[in-house]
Symmetry: C2
Subunit: 395 residues, 2 copies
């Protein structure tokens, strides 16, 4: 039996491992938080050490009596988190305490299909191995930019991922690395990352709004990701903003993404540049032949009024949809993340202004709306955390 | 100590009481579903009988060995459910198995304030007592037509309830009946009622849309009511439908309630009658001087095109908001309830058509959208169920 397929034997051991994931501690400290007799606690901890899942870590400071020995997760525990986007792959390796030991990022085109893209992901993780970050993984978590059947570990009719429908991503990655794998959509793993160590760390119910090529929402209820009955919860990109808006790729008109997705903003930027409303964007367009969301952000940072107008328009539409979701869900926090979020404080100000004006006062009274501080780390960290939840659950 | 304040002593007893709430059963059957040794199970059951919470109920059919004795909730267990609306009060009494033994309804005006309205509610429950349905209550659950701080049992800045802000409804009702009381908003108790014995009985994640004077949404996640961080989750009446709609009582324009709430439909009906677009409504208006939602329903039932148009317009706006919520929440079921829901299948057809067209296919693939079958029973049953959850939890 491979070492890495070892999992806790019962739910007491699983509970202890999850506690240790937040940091090593003394037996006495563990005894304070778990509902086990001292002898039963020591029995389970000894068994975790025997299984190679935990290890002893010296003696703790005395609390008055005999000094209690410290326990921590096995120091060679390693999880990998892989965050596959439409145009990039991020991969990171963490220890058992979810500290990121190394993080690499590469351009990539999701449309090349699962064999090529997963191959590139495996190579990227291989580089981290080559850097000496691990010899064997305990688990690998993967995020994908589309709907995922969480139970089966496969993408389901993902709109921007030709060739990926029902491809067995989880099983392929598990086989590749010889360890358990878990797959979820990119927005859910970002929400999990924010919940683990971002601004949402102490918030039970929150929303993570990802603004990029697509627009999606991670929903956390009672500290756990809520996926809905068919795994599509949070797919808000095609919520109607109005009936007479631009036609969307989905066939309806006036969808949020058709207004405020990355490509829509870039398209509008070209129109603004050609209309002579932005000297900065006109110059960039003449140089590069195309415009991107980053160009709009750079122009706005220089005070370009055309670019600022574009960002405000996008923010207003995002705010209108978010206001509805805030009234409905009454979250304790909203985090804005993703590429479009890099448009920064002009975007955030517009979103806030609409939400605070249009949502119920009771729902917004104590509601912070903030930009993510984790950036690209949220996804890889959430993916590693996702698989650690699985590995540290009773078999 | 009063008999009715007796609650289970530990979480095993609480679990057993909740199981028995779904119907009496043999000790052997209980042993199949709880994780207790036979001797421990019998100990806890004997203790519940001693406490007067359960009673023996003869012998079960043999399953091969010695016949197992049956246990049921104490046959004099009684819960009351009170559903206070803007213009009516419903009250019912159930036994421990949540069977409705009696149900009364009266007109009432919420604007008379808490002393008068709660006094009327107490009298209504008193009539049920006078009918011999109980001598003492084990718990009373109360639903109110506005935002409620669930933890404190008080309404919080309720818009249509002048004089009720922070009135101690829970404590007043508990003192009045000498038993535990719980208070929640009317939409949440309806959702709980549907979850207990309505169409949602086997659905973990669903939405209950209440269409009446106000419009609200009960949210059930994993079988439990989701209330949000400040208790306002599901307050969807002021979600924006469009920017240029009618001005709403809340100060914004284009809110859902300003289009599709009961009073908005009645107001539109008068306009349609006066414009000569509905002979039926014109006649009713001439007779009564006012029009109500019921008049619109009656006109539509006779094929009146003006009334059908009105219902379609209201349904379209409701559908637009519901489509967003379905994309976001990915529920397993949507139940439509409340007074406006009595406009029936024309309304339902329009709501369905918009949701099935505008929500994500993944979210609507297996999504039933149905009219409630419980009607006015949902609220009182949910209120009784709410307090029974409290009474059958460990102290």
């Amino acid at each position: 039996m491979k070492r890495t397929t070892i999992r806790p034997e019962n739910h007491h051991q699983a509970r202890l491992l999850r506690l240790l994931r937040d940091g090593g501690r003394s037996r006495a400290e563990l005894g304070d938080v778990v509902d086990l007799s001292r002898s039963k606690l020591n029995l389970e901890l000894d068994r975790l050490v025997e299984l190679g899942l935990a290890e002893l870590d010296g003696l703790a400071a005395s609390r008055g009596g005999r000094r209690s020995s410290r326990v921590r997760l096995s120091s060679d525990t390693r999880f990998a988190g892989v965050d596959i986007g439409a145009t990039s792959i991020d991969a990171a390796v963490t220890n058992g305490e979810m500290e990121v030991l190394g993080h690499l990022s590469e351009r990539c085109d999701i449309r090349k299909g699962p064999a090529a893209v997963l191959g590139q992901a495996v190579e990227l993780v291989g580089k981290l191995q080559h850097d000496g970050l691990f010899t064997q993984l305990n688990g690998v978590g993967v995020g994908l930019p589309g709907p995922v059947s969480f139970a089966e570990g496969v993408p389901v009719v993902p709109p921007i991922m030709p060739g990926w429908d029902r491809y067995p991503v989880r099983d392929a990655m598990s086989r590749e690395f010889g360890c358990p794998a878990m797959v979820d959509n990119d927005v859910n793993i970002m929400a999990l990352g924010e919940s683990h160590s971002g601004l949402a760390r102490s918030v039970d119910d929150f929303l993570l709004l990802k603004l990029g090529t697509g627009i999606g929402c991670g929903i956390v209820v009672g500290g756990a990701v809520y996926r809905g009955v068919s795994g599509s919860a949070g797919d808000i990109g095609h919520i109607r903003v109005d009936d007479y808006g631009p036609v969307c790729a989905c066939g309806n008109s006036g969808c949020l993404e058709a207004y405020s997705g990355g490509p829509a903003i870039a398209r509008e930027a070209v129109a603004v540049a050609r209309a002579g409303e932005s000297p900065y964007l006109a110059e960039r367009l003449a140089e590069a032949g195309v415009l991107t969301g980053e160009d709009v952000g750079a122009a706005a940072a220089q005070g370009d009024p055309g670019a600022i107008g574009l960002i405000r328009d996008a923010g207003r539409r995002i705010g209108q949809v978010l206001a509805s979701l805030v009234s409905f869900f009454n979250p304790g926090l909203v985090i804005i993340a993703g590429g479009v979020a890099r448009l920064g404080h002009v975007l955030l100000a517009e979103i806030r202004s609409v939400v605070y004006r249009r949502s119920l006062p009771l729902a917004t009274g104590n509601l912070p709306i903030v930009l993510s501080e984790l950036g690209d780390t949220a996804g890889v960290l959430g993916a590693a955390r996702l698989v650690s939840d699985h590995v540290y659950s009773a078999t």
